[in-house]
């Protein structure tokens, strides 16, 4: 599980968006209905997001993609709860010959790749 240092980040309470945006003018209900259907500034209110951000395109570069494919490969076993490098070492000691480029990505200090698996903090 997330270490105690991560707890604050895990349960962060900040709202990225303000929630449902209300129309600035307070009109009676019947009128506001018609106001919403045409002419209102906001075409569609954004989704209610409480936790974290809507990151559909996160820090997702080619390196991360390679590592995610490694996470998802069932030959090397489940990836939940293990660091990627530990899983690579385990696969190597079991004789499964995991790909070397994954190892290089994980051990090189140059690339900024996540050491935890893709499900870390999300499951």
């Amino acid at each position: 599980m997330a270490s105690s240092a991560d707890m604050k980040g895990f349960y962060k309470q900040k709202k990225k968006y303000a929630g449902i945006s209300k129309p600035s003018s307070s009109k009676p209900k019947s009128k506001s209905k018609s106001a919403a259907s045409f002419g209102s500034n906001v075409a569609q209110p954004p989704a209610l997001v409480v936790h974290g951000s809507l990151d559909l395109q996160e820090n997702h570069d080619a390196n991360e993609e390679v590592l995610r494919q490694f996470d998802m490969n069932m030959v090397y076993g489940p990836c939940v709860g293990m660091k990627r490098i530990d899983r690579w070492n385990r696969a190597s000691s079991l004789g499964l010959s995991p790909p070397d480029d994954v190892y290089r990505l994980l051990t090189s200090t140059a690339s900024e790749v996540c050491s935890q698996s893709l499900w870390d903090g999300r499951v």
């Binding site: 599980m1 997330a2 069932m74 030959v75 076993g77 489940p78 939940v80 709860g81 293990m82 660091k83 530990d86 070492n89 385990r90 000691s93 079991l94 004789g95």
Partner: protein, 526 residues
């Protein structure tokens, strides 16, 4: 006619007995003081230790994956000898009607297995109140699972009452049109390879296995345990008896050595008078173990009732619990399961939790059959972590049996039983089911050599008459124990008297003498 009476002073914290010395009337015992035999001991418990493990949030899927990988690799190497013409495929790769072999982990769907969710189900389920002993039901079904998927298993070859969740097997069969897999044949991993036994060196050496001492419980008799300790340390019997005791090279206590009264463990603060009751059983046990450790190597394993962690593999009992015995370097606190070598004879044993769990979720004739199954499945505890508590390992499965032991023992069982199991590649294993000492008074002496034989020491049952001449010496122990348990009288003010029987024998070892050594004063436990 040599006739000796032995004396010793024992100080029990709970019983407060003091046996006084009686004059030695007969031949001296010091003619050529007997030397205890030595043996080479090697412990291989590192695989069961979890001090270096760190919990990083892993789940049990990791240990199942490792188990599947280890045993599947093994089975793949056995397949060419079994059915070489059939293809091996994954569960997802099954095609309807095509005969093939699949390898995976079994899951048993059990109707009567208690689940936490049944408390929350809307309808009151019709399942009757089950006894906690056995959850097997005729409607149980098996499912095979590997990394790609699961498939229901049908057919009469695979009997659900034999297998449990966590077994890895290979199945030969074909997929039916209903989507199930119809099983024609099963292949298990089989007995692991065994190292050759060393040639019989000519010396007889014995290892004493005892379990379920349950010191502190109402069923345990401290005098019985003291007799066992005296027998092992050579304080009992005549010269012949002492000679056989000098051949004991190792004592293993296989779990459940103490039993704390459950009423004290209800989570509330203990009064000061109760606090001493909590530690008394352990102190009493330490006294017994010190007497043994002073002369002979002793291993103590934790059990279900002992103050050790719950999940397997149980870690060694802390040495501070045994201030007296841990001063000796012959005292070793070991893990449960315990794997060790005595003179290159491999012993493997547990305190019984793995077999007890198998008894709840499958059926077999007796304990020895369960033990045989665990060896054939090449896994000590297949039900871990499903129904048996287990540490979530990520890099290894310590219960996977790499090398076949020569002696395989399970402690804390109901009855004493033993059998030789022979494997296909010439493996020979002595299976021993050790009963609880507090209930039966039986400790097992094993002679690790090319032919392991078992002697039963100190049984309660007076009608035990060993057939062979070599066992006749042990008749004395029978009578000694039997006598003590029958004679007991109560007197005023909570004091009682005990009759002590002393064994005497002539050169042939036939005569038994009863002596009233001393009427002792001792306090009954409050």
């Amino acid at each position: 006619m040599p006739f000796v009476i032995y004396f010793y002073v024992a100080d029990y914290i709970t019983c407060n007995c003091k046996l006084l010395a009686i004059a030695m009337t007969a031949m001296d015992v010091d003619t050529g003081a007997l030397q205890r035999k030595q043996s080479l001991y090697q412990s291989m418990d590192e695989i069961f230790e979890i001090q270096k493990e760190m919990y990083k949030g892993q789940q049990y899927s990791q240990i199942y994956y490792i188990r599947l990988h280890l045993i599947r690799t093994l089975i793949h190497s056995l397949l060419p000898n079994w059915k070489p013409h059939l293809p091996v495929c994954t569960v997802l790769g099954l095609e309807e009607g095509k005969e093939c072999i699949i390898v995976g982990t079994l899951y048993k769907h059990m109707k009567l297995k208690p689940t936490i969710l049944s408390e929350y189900s809307k309808e009151r389920s019709a399942t009757p109140l089950v006894s906690p002993d056995n959850f097997v039901h005729p409607d149980d079904t098996l499912v095979l699972e590997d990394e790609s998927g699961r498939v229901n298993l049908k057919g009469n070859v695979l009997s659900p009452s034999v297998y449990v969740t966590g077994n890895v097997v290979a199945l030969h069969g074909k997929e039916t049109d209903a989507g199930d897999f119809f099983v024609d044949d099963v292949l298990e991993a089989g007995l692991p390879p065994q190292l050759d036994l060393p040639n019989k060196s000519g010396e007889d050496k014995y290892v004493v296995l005892v379990s379920g001492l349950n010191v502190g419980s109402s069923s345990s008799n401290p005098l019985q345990l003291q007799l066992l300790v005296d027998h092992i340390t050579g304080h009992l019997g005549d010269e012949k008896e002492q000679q056989s005791a000098s051949k004991i090279v190792q004592v293993v206590v296989a779990g459940n050595s103490v039993k704390v009264r459950h009423g004290l463990l209800n989570g509330q603060n203990l009064a000061s008078k109760d606090q001493s009751k909590l530690s008394e059983p352990i102190k009493e046990l330490d006294i017994f173990l010190t007497q043994i450790a002073a002369g002979i190597p002793i291993d103590i394993m934790p059990g279900y009732n002992d103050p050790a962690n719950f999940a397997l593999p149980q870690q060694p009992l802390n040495k501070c619990l045994f201030p007296g015995s841990s001063a000796y370097n012959t005292f070793r606190s070991c893990t449960n399961p315990h794997l060790f070598d005595v003179d290159n004879v491999r012993f493997l044993g547990t305190s019984g939790q793995n077999i007890d769990d198998l008894e709840k979720y499958s059926e077999a004739k007796d304990t020895l059959e369960f033990m045989e199954r665990t060896l054939r499945w090449r896994h000590l505890a297949p039900t871990a972590p499903n129904t048996l508590g287990c540490y979530p390992f990520t890099d290894r499965d310590p219960f996977f049996i790499e090398s076949c032991p020569h002696v395989y023992f399970i402690g804390n069982q109901n009855k004493y039983a033993t059998r030789i199991l022979k494997g296909l590649e010439g493996q020979v294993v002595r299976l021993i089911s050790i009963p609880r000492f507090s209930e039966t008074g039986i400790a097992v002496m094993v002679k690790p050599s090319t032919e392991t034989r078992v002697f039963v020491s100190l049984p309660e049952d007076k009608s035990y008459f060993p057939e062979s001449i070599a066992d006749r010496r042990l008749c004395f122990s029978v009578y000694a124990t039997g006598a003590i348990s029958t004679e007991r009288s109560d007197d005023d003010a909570g004091f009682g008297y005990l009759l002590i029987v002393v064994m005497g024998c002539d050169g042939e070892g036939h005569q038994i003498w009863w002596w009233l050594l001393k009427t002792l004063a001792f306090e009954e436990e409050g």
